[in-house]
C-alpha cells in the first residue's frame, strides 16, 4: 500500500476521525482498546495448530530421487581389488541439466551429478582407491572438487571439464571423516547453488563402532528467483520432507548422522536436536567426540558426525536453529519407536 500522503489519505483519515467523533454517540463503537483486543485474539485452534509447511507433495519419481532413500543410500561404487591389493571404488559421474521439483509445484532448473541433489554419497574406507569417470553432459564447463587429501591435478579446480568433455579423478581416500565434493568452476556460488554437490564419507580403517542407523544429511537450499538469497531450505533438498515423512529410528538404538552443510548465500547453518543431546565429531576425523550438545553450527563446507540415542519413544523434531531456515523448510522429525 502506498504511504504517500494524498487527498485520499486525508479523506481516509478525516473520515475515520469523523467516525470517531460521531461513532461514540451514534454507533456506540467499542473503545479503541477493547476493539484492539478483540481483533488481536485468534481462535485457539488457529494459534495452537499453526505449522509452517508446503502444500502438496513433490513427485519423487519424476525427480528421480526420494530424500528418505538418500538418507541411507551409501554408494560404494564398483568395488574391485587392484594388483597392489588396494581396494578400488569406481564411479561413473555425469553432470546434467534437470528440472527438479524442489517444492510441491515449483520446478527448478538444476545442475546435477547423476540426476540427483545431493549427488551420490560416495563411501569408502581410508586407504582405498577412488576412481571417478566424469562426463560433463551440460552446456557449461564443470568439475568435481573433493575435500580431502589428494594430488593437485585431482583437485578439480584448474582443469574445468568442457561441455561434452570427460575427466578421470583418481586418488587414495584419506583422511577418514565426513567430507564433501562439489563443482569448482566459476562463478562458484552459482555452480554450487544449482545442485552440483554431494557427501563423501571415508570410514576409519577399523571402521566406526556399529550403529543401528547411519544417515547422511546434506543441508542445502534453493534461490528460486536468482536474488542471491535462498527461498527454500532443506536437508537433502526437499523442504519439510522429514516433517511429513518422519525418519523412523528405534528407541535406545545408536543413530549416526553424517551432517554436511553446502548451503550457498547464507553464511551459517545449524542443526538442533529436540529432547536429546548428541556427541559431535567435527569433520568426523577423530574417534573422540569434542562436544556433547543439542546444537551445532556449520559454515559452508563444514561438516561433522553426530551420535545419539533416544531414551523415550515418540516424535522429536530436528531443525536448523536459525528459525527462518526452519520455517522455510529445514525442519524434520524423528519417530522413535519402541
Amino acid at each position: 500500500m502506498t504511504t504517500s500522503l494524498t487527498r485520499r489519505t486525508l479523506f481516509r483519515a478525516g473520515t475515520l476521525s469523523a467516525l470517531g467523533l460521531a461513532g461514540a454517540a451514534v454507533l456506540q463503537t467499542p473503545a479503541p482498546v477493547s476493539s484492539q483486543e478483540q481483533t488481536a485474539t485468534h481462535p485457539h485452534n488457529e494459534q495452537t495448530m499453526f505449522m509452517p509447511g508446503t502444500v502438496g507433495e513433490v513427485d519423487h519419481a519424476a525427480n528421480g530421487f526420494n530424500p528418505t532413500d538418500i538418507l541411507t543410500d551409501f554408494d560404494y561404487g564398483k568395488v574391485s581389488t587392484l594388483p597392489s591389493g588396494q581396494t578400488l571404488h569406481e564411479y561413473d559421474f555425469v553432470a546434467g541439466t534437470k528440472d527438479i521439483e524442489v517444492a510441491p509445484g515449483i520446478m527448478y532448473a538444476a545442475w546435477t551429478y547423476n540426476g540427483r541433489i545431493p549427488g551420490p554419497t560416495i563411501r569408502a574406507r581410508e586407504g582405498d582407491r577412488i576412481r571417478i569417470n566424469f562426463v560433463n553432459g551440460t552446456g557449461h564447463p564443470h568439475s568435481i572438487h573433493f575435500h580431502g587429501i589428494h594430488p593437485a591435478g585431482m583437485d578439480g579446480v584448474f582443469e574445468p571439464v568442457p561441455p561434452g568433455g570427460t575427466f578421470v579423478y583418481e586418488f587414495d581416500a584419506e583422511p577418514f571423516g565426513v567430507h564433501l565434493y562439489h563443482c569448482h568452476v566459476m562463478p562458484l556460488a552459482q555452480h554450487i547453488a544449482k545442485g552440483l554437490y554431494g557427501a563423501f564419507i571415508i570410514d576409519p580403517p577399523q571402521g566406526w563402532p556399529p550403529a543401528e542407523h547411519e544417515l547422511v544429511m546434506v543441508m542445502n537450499g534453493f534461490d528460486l528467483d536468482f536474488d542471491l538469497a535462498n527461498d527454500l531450505y532443506a536437508v537433502n533438498t526437499i523442504p519439510f520432507h522429514y516433517d511429513i515423512h518422519p525418519i523412523k529410528i528405534k528407541v535406545n538404538a545408536l543413530v549416526r548422522v553424517f551432517l554436511v552443510n553446502v548451503l550457498e548465500f547464507d553464511p551459517i547453518n545449524s542443526f538442533h536436536l529436540h529432547a536429546n543431546l548428541f556427541h559431535y565429531y567435527p569433520t568426523g576425523t577423530s574417534l573422540t567426540p569434542s562436544e556433547f550438545t543439542d546444537m551445532i553450527a556449520q559454515m559452508q563446507a563444514q561438516r561433522g558426525m553426530l551420535e545419539f540415542r533416544y531414551k523415550y519413544p515418540g516424535k522429536y523434531m530436528f531443525h536448523a536453529h536459525k528459525t527462518e531456515f526452519a520455517e522455510l523448510g529445514w525442519t524434520g522429525n524423528f519417530l522413535v519407536e519402541a
Partner: protein, 396 residues
Amino acid sequence: MTTTTTTTKPNPLSTLALLILPVLLLAGVIGLFLYTSGAGLNVQSAAPIESLSFERTILQPGVIEFRIRNTSPQEINIAQININDGIVRYTIDPGHTVPRLGRAVIKVPYPWVQSEAYEVAIFSSNSVAFTTAIDVASETKVADRSTLLSFTLIGLYVGVLPVFLGLFWFPALRRLGPRWMMFLMAITAGLLIYLGIDAVNEALETSIGLGGPFQGVGLIGLGVVVTFMLLDAIARRQVSVGRSEADQRLTVAYMIATGIGLHNLGEGLAIGAAYSVGAATLGTFLVIGFILQNITEGLGIIAPVLRDRPTLSSLAWMGLIGGVPAVVGAWVGGLTYSQPLAVLFLAIGAGAVFEVVYEIGKLIQRDAAKRPMPLTIFAGVTVGMLLLYVTGLLIK
C-alpha cells in the same frame, strides 16, 4: 453517359463481400503465423512472462486471505506461499491453475498479530515470486449491519454533509454584487480544477497496482474523455433546446452537482476500500480540515444560480446528487473493492469535474462579455486552487 452508372446503388452483397475480404486475408495471415510458429520471427520467450496482481488482502482472526488476479499472457500455477520468511500451508479456490485474467482466492491459516507488518511472496510453478505487504495488520471489516452503517456514515462525512453545509451559504451569497458573484464562480472553477488534477493523480497512483492487461493509463483516458464528452453533449442539447439563461444556469448547477457526485463516488470507493482494509488513522484535527476542504463543493454547486431563485427542492436535489454517491461509493468500495473499477471511477470523476469547469468557463465568458473583469476571474481561480492547496498543507 457514364455518369448514370455511378449513381446506381451498389449491390449490398458485394459491399459486404468487399468489407469481409480484408478480414479473411487477416485471418489467413494469422493462420500462417500460427502454423509456421512465428513465420521467421523467434517468438519463443526465454522464460515465461508472468505477472499477478493482488486485488485485495483480507484479514480475519487466524486467517489471511488474498484475492489475486492473473495478469500474465498465459495461465499461471500457484505453487507455494511465503509469509515473513516461512513457508505456509494454504487453500486456493477455485484451483492452483489460474487462467489469464482469472481470479482466485487464497486462504492461509496464519496467527497474525494486531498492528504488525507482514511480507508475503507467492511463488508460481516457474519459481517466479510475487510479493505484497501487509503494512499494519488489522481485522478487515466484513459486511454486517454495523459496518454498513459505518460506510453510510463515511459517505455522509465525505459527501452529503459538506455539500449541504456549502449550500447553506446560499441566502448570504445571493446578496452579493455581480463582481463578487463572478469571483465566487471563478473560485469554484479553481476548486474544481484542483479536484480534477487530484483525481487524475489518484487514478494514476491506483493504476500502478493494476496488471498490464488493464492498461491503467488508457483506462483513465477512457474514463476522463468519455465522461467529458458525454456531459458536454448533454449540455449542448440543453442549450439547443433554447431555454432562458436562468434555466441554463440551473442546468449548469445540476451538472456541477453531478460532476461533484461522480467525483465523490470515486472518492467514496477509495475511502471505503481503505477503511475496510484498516489503512486508516484517527485524528480530530484532520476531521476539521476535511470538512473545511469539502464544504467548498456545496459552494461550487450554488455559485451559478446565486442571482436566480432556485426552489428549495432543487437545492435539496443538487445536494443529494452531489453528496449521496459518496455513500454508494463507500458501500461498494468497502464491501467489494475492485481496483480496475476504482481507477475507472476516479477517472470518471475527473472527467466530470473538468467538464463542469468547462461549463462554468462558458458561464463566466458570457457574463464577462457584458462586463469584463479579468483580474476578478484570475484572482478567483487562483484563490480556489490555493484554498485547497493551503488547507492541504495544514492537515496533511
